[in-house]
Amino acid sequence: METKAVRDGYGEALVEFGREDKRIVVLSADLEDANRTKLFEKEFPERFYTFGISEQDMVGEGAGFSMTGFIPFVNSFAVFLTTRAYDQIRVSLCYNKANVKLVGSHPGLEVGNDGATAQSLEDIAVMSVLPEMRVICPADAVEARKATKALIESKGPVYMRSGRRPWPVITEKETPFEIGKSVSLKEGKDVTLIAYGIMVHKSLEAAKLLSSKGIKAGVINMHTIKPLDRYAVLSAAKDTGAIVVSENHQKIGGLGSAVARVISETNPVPIEFVAVDNSFGESGSPGELQKKYGLDTADIVSAAKRAVNRKK
């Protein structure tokens, strides 16, 4: 299976769309190599701005660019962008409805051996709670290109969570991408696995393993965490009667919380969560960390079995 990092898909897409659309400007806080916006800098140095290690300033500068007619893409590690500059995102962007696109790389436990300060396990929660903000996370590099296009065409602030390591490419170029509309990758009968980012691929793997044990699991790529595709969640609850939400993020405040809210308001069915449980990460390889913190394919399989058993 072809693998490619979301950050590469995003970096290349910025260059591709930047050729046609001169409104696109790229802002970075000294991590342009790591988040792949260096590609844009190389081709369009006049539309690339570095602000040094000053995320708060950078977010405000983005608001200023948007108010003079540009579409700024504001980049850093997910953890620094969303938490260091939080009040700036809340007031200068969201409260002002500024047309700024935030892109945070190195999500969840992917950073591995850099340790907990660089591992972003809270970004989805803190971005989702802000009025006006939309939150998306592509499942692979191909989807990242389509998501980048959708960001350009959207109005108002959007946060996109990028990815660092090469992930298997599981989506197709032709599949339409619409903010707020999830993609069903596999039909199920007994349980639905809902995920975003790297956990979509793991959910597909889990569905295969479950099928060998006689459990028919559906898989939904919930690339938009906010606004949540309520219809898809409710259909999953109705059609399969059990849900597993997996995310490379804290359990508190993530997609799982959003899905549980929709389900509890309408059609309560068993839900299980595969996520980091109120803990910081640590140094280690991503594989080691995912095993310790319960984000492996095997964890999704166990969660699905629990959910199915709870139906009885």
Binding site: V25, G52, S54, Q56, D57, F65, M67, S92, Y95
Partner: protein, 285 residues
């Protein structure tokens, strides 16, 4: 000769009009029974000169692409900006009564739903970054627009301000002008006691800005300083405007107690008298 004469005449007129702006400010805060008179009265002369002498703008067309922009980073001094915008014709003066009221146009802190306001503020330290982004955007778009940003002295304690001070020097933003409303008092007392800012002109010079120091209530000095934006070449301009908190109302002047406090009926009457108006107080609320 005539140009010089007209300029002097215009500046005189603005100075005369300032009493009316101060009246609007204290009446707004009286009617709302809340607000920040001290920092509004220290800032209003500068904003008056910006909108009525210096800036390219059009109240009939607030979104005019070629306009100069003003960012009120110290968003709590909203009555000063609202008073100037209302008197420029951006919205009817009737709206002053809606200040801080439920469903009203004039939000407690500066809000961009008000015609003429560029940026909603209220969390200190953020305005200069947005102003700098606008200055960069104007240059990239090939526009000749200038961006002015007013900061409070207490606000300079926010770290984000200094991030942008470095950015604006790095990008040589000669179309950006920061104006410090230096009244020397923050919410809980004298700035020198809480966290001193001095020597602020040296600091800004060291950071690579062109720096001027003026009396922020002297209309000729304000106009002269603002005319300097871009004159230094490839440097942003920082104007340290020495001001008096509560300027124009004797019992408010230089007192931190009037940072956020509304005058009662008698105090309003005295304020209006000091400003040269008859004290006709209508209790419309």
């Amino acid at each position: 000769m005539t140009i010089k004469h007209n300029r002097r005449k215009k500046i005189e007129e603005l100075k005369t009009a300032s009493a009316g702006l101060r009246k609007d400010i204290v009446e707004m805060i009286y009617t709302a029974r809340a607000g920040h008179p001290g920092g509004s009265l220290s800032a209003v002369d500068i904003i008056n000169v910006l909108y009525n002498y210096k800036m390219k703008h059009d109240p009939e067309n607030p979104g005019w692409a070629e306009r100069d922009r003003f960012i009120m980073s110290k968003g709590h001094a909203s009555p000063a900006l609202y008073a100037v915008l209302g008197n420029c014709g951006y919205f009817p003066g009737e709206e002053f009564k809606s200040f801080r009221k439920f469903g009203g146009l004039l939000q407690g802190h500066v809000h961009r739903d008000v015609p003429g306001v560029e940026l909603s503020t209220g969390s200190l330290g953020q305005g200069l970054s947005v102003a700098s982004g606008m200055a960069l955007g104007s240059k990239l778009a090939g526009k000749n627009s200038r961006v002015y940003c007013m900061l409070g002295d207490g606000e300079m304690q926010e770290g984000q301000v200094w991030e942008t001070v470095m950015t604006a020097a790095q990008y040589r933003l000669d179309n950006l002008c920061a104006i410090l409303d230096y009244n020397g008092i923050q919410e809980n007392g004298r700035i020198d006691r809480i966290k001193k800012l001095e020597p602020v002109t040296d600091k800004l010079k060291d950071f690579g800005w062109e720096v001027l120091e003026i009396d922020g209530h002297d209309y000729v000095q304000i106009a002269d300083a603002l005319d300097n934006t871009g004159a230094a070449g490839e440097k942003p301009l920082f104007i340290k405007a020495n001001t008096v908190k509560g300027k124009g109302i004797s019992y408010m002047e230089d007192r931190f107690e009037w940072h956020a406090k509304n005058p009662d009926k008698e105090q309003l009457a005295q304020a209006l008298k000091e400003l040269g108006f008859k004290a006709e107080i209508k209790d419309g609320n």
